[in-house]
């Protein structure tokens, strides 16, 4: 028994996180809409598509694939007439020069999260996260389900990035100050 316990504790593994299917579905549906409320996004993308990137840890590749499928099923390469593409990228392969419109981060370890969000904020890229606790790293949006669906908008991250959204969005979200 002792050896089994030691094995369980110390074995470094590659996989592990069970995602909530409904939450993934809600975020896949709602996050692109939040992005569409960013000021001037449509004028910047009359021809070139908006690239919405799902960022994942290597062990979550299958989950990321499913999220991409979900988003594509909701928004079939176009959002209100604006070209819209969903891509996926592992943390280590993320190129912010290419994935510059928005990133949606699934689970990752704290270091990966911190590093990725910091870089994205520097480039003024809106960051959406799966888990609301990752707002503490400076992500902009997190959708959770409480008594009802709640969208948290990180006020500190909003100020730092200087991003602007349609005023009506501010009436829907709940502000938090998380750094």
């Amino acid at each position: 028994m002792r050896y089994i316990a030691i094995l369980l504790i110390f074995l470094q593994s590659l996989w592990g996180y069970a995602y909530n299917e409904l939450l993934l579905d809600a975020q896949s549906r709602i996050y692109p809409k939040l992005l569409m409320l960013e000021e001037n996004i449509s004028s910047r993308h009359e021809i070139s598509p908006i690239v919405f990137t799902v960022v994942y840890a290597p062990e979550d590749e299958f989950v990321a694939e499913r999220v991409v499928q979900k988003i594509e099923s909701y928004y079939d390469h176009s959002f209100s007439g604006i070209p819209f593409e969903v891509e996926m990228s592992a943390f280590d392969e993320l190129e912010l020069s290419r994935h510059k419109d928005a990133i949606y981060i699934l689970k990752g370890d704290d270091d990966q999260m911190k590093r990725t969000i910091k870089l994205a904020m520097k480039e003024k890229i809106p960051v959406f996260v799966y888990d609301f606790k990752d707002l503490r790293f400076g992500a902009l949006f997190a959708l959770t389900i409480e008594q009802s669906t709640v969208i948290y908008l990180n006020r500190a991250a909003l100020h730092k990035t200087g991003l602007l959204f349609a005023p009506s969005l501010y009436g829907i979200v709940r502000f938090v100050d998380a750094e």
Partner: protein, 677 residues
Amino acid sequence: MCKRVLSIFITAVCSFAAGKESLVVDTLVSDMNTFGKLAESVKMSEPFQPYIVSVFLGYELESIGVSNLQEALELVPGIDLATDNVDNKHIVFRGSNPFAYGQSKLFIDGVEVNNIFFDSYGSFLSMPIEMIKRIEVTRGPGSVSDGVSAYAGSIRVITYAEHLKGESEKNRVFLKRGTYLHRVGGFTYGYDRENFSIFTELYFQKDDKSLPVGKDALSTGIYGPLNVALSKSGNAPLWMKNYAAAIRMQYGNFKLIGRALYDKRGSAYGINGALPQKSDHTKFPTTYLQMDYDIDAGNLSSVARVGWIDSAFESKAKLLPDNFNAGAGIVYPNGFYGEHVAKQRTLYQTTYAQYSGWRDHILNFGYYIEYIETYKVVTRTTDRLTGIGIVDYSQTYPFLDPNANRRTYRLFFQDRYRHSEKLAVQYGINAEKVSHIKTQINPRIALVYQEDPVNIFKLIYSRSSRTPSWQELYTLNNHARVGNRDLKPETVNAYEMAYIHKFSVDSFIQLNLFYLHNSDQINNINPDNQYRNSSSSNIYGMEAELKTPVGLHGTLYANYSYAYGKEDHRYPIANAARHMIKGYYLHQFTDKLSAGISGQYVGSKERVWYDYRSKLGSYTTVDLSAGYHDWRSGLRIQLALKNIFDATVKYPSPPYNYDNDFTQEGRTVMLTVAKAF
């Protein structure tokens, strides 16, 4: 001119943009409402709801080697298992009356499946975990929103018939093989097309389990000193043959749910406490059909429902041994045989509605009407006078009132008022009139205060009542179980408090405190074996639950529960464990390989006050499991070793029964191969 044209153009562009933005916001709000409702229906928003609920997901339970519904429920805080002479297992919530069956209700896809005779659901506890998508266990009386008010707790099993958009693994097939020649097979299959969907499931399982048991009830002298020498010990026949088929169809607003369960099992420890023969058996078949018509008209939605349930209790067994002396000079030289059949049917109709047009309020209201009757009673036994030959006593000496029937009328109302972002209040009332029983008024009020995204507080008061079961009311001509038509319903006043701290989307710690005042508790633990409203009890306790990821690759779940109380202010509550600790740790080694360890500690149990035996000892079991799961192909292979240290697990027997209690299985193994597609 140019300026004017430019101005018109800019205005037009801005209006267009504003219109587009407004459209996006409108659909965004609509999506948020849709997902909010959906999350509530699948109990994802459970920490914020006005109940104390534990939710377990089928796939997670499969990964830690859980094999069926019973094993899943053993993980729930505050829940213990009990059994009886026919191994009709039932769940005991928070130590509340372990002798009654119907204090909790089991719902499968929204249909209450407690049988009529015992008001129990033991036959469904062996339901394979592969059929179960989610289990929601509400401790305490729970909701009145759809007219069903449980007493000590309710268990809702949701099968894969519930299929949300984007979910995979609707269809699956599985085979299992384990100790005691346990063989299980089954499948689920669903098909959707526009406004039509159909879902079917089927499973079959059998085993040849028998477990050693000590001297039977005759050794205690309960059948007189002349029969003590006839007492036997040996193996109790606990084999089973259990299969079920279910269908769920939806076409537009119509929904049809049907299920047939056949459950045949060895006579276990014998209805009368005499060790049965291997071929002796009981059956608990249940069949039901329920039709719903849903109406959704903006702020008002309603469901009109009609249903039919047929359930039975059947027993064919040698109830007393050879040369049993029945007194008055009557001896049964070849023992006493009995064939007993009691069939009941239920018809019910309910309509309930939800209105959300009043700002910050959600109103639920409706009625429920039910008629239950016994339509067949068979009593064939050894000739009671000569002791030789079989005589049909169905007319002259039935074991159950053949004319038993009951009508139930229920009205219910509930309002969920959202006072602010932080505070929600739910209050409601359930009024129930049952034939021959005084009208019961059961109120409920619950407050949920959400300090911030991570801290939630709940305060709940509820009253509930349990109508006596068929067995308790209408059993006749049986010295071991004597029915009583004058029984009053059991009642409970429950006070509960909960605090939840959420660390992340799926990690939390929850602390519950409760106090239950139970009145008119029913049991037949008395010299006449007659069901009586024999006592009241005050039970208080707590439950602590923790679930947290361990790194990115592990999940830890653990809970501790404590329950203590006294009956009639004098005697400690009987057959209830004061301390229980349960939990599991699941670790993913690769994207396909996982291993889990789970276990439970169930503390010692006091006996009924006049029972001469010392209290029942505690036990600890540890299970191990290892699994291979290829998410892409859907193939899963799972090996589970249960109770690896072969701990002695015993459920308490009543006084003057099997003195050595009811021993459960020791170390077992189960191999599962499943494929989702």
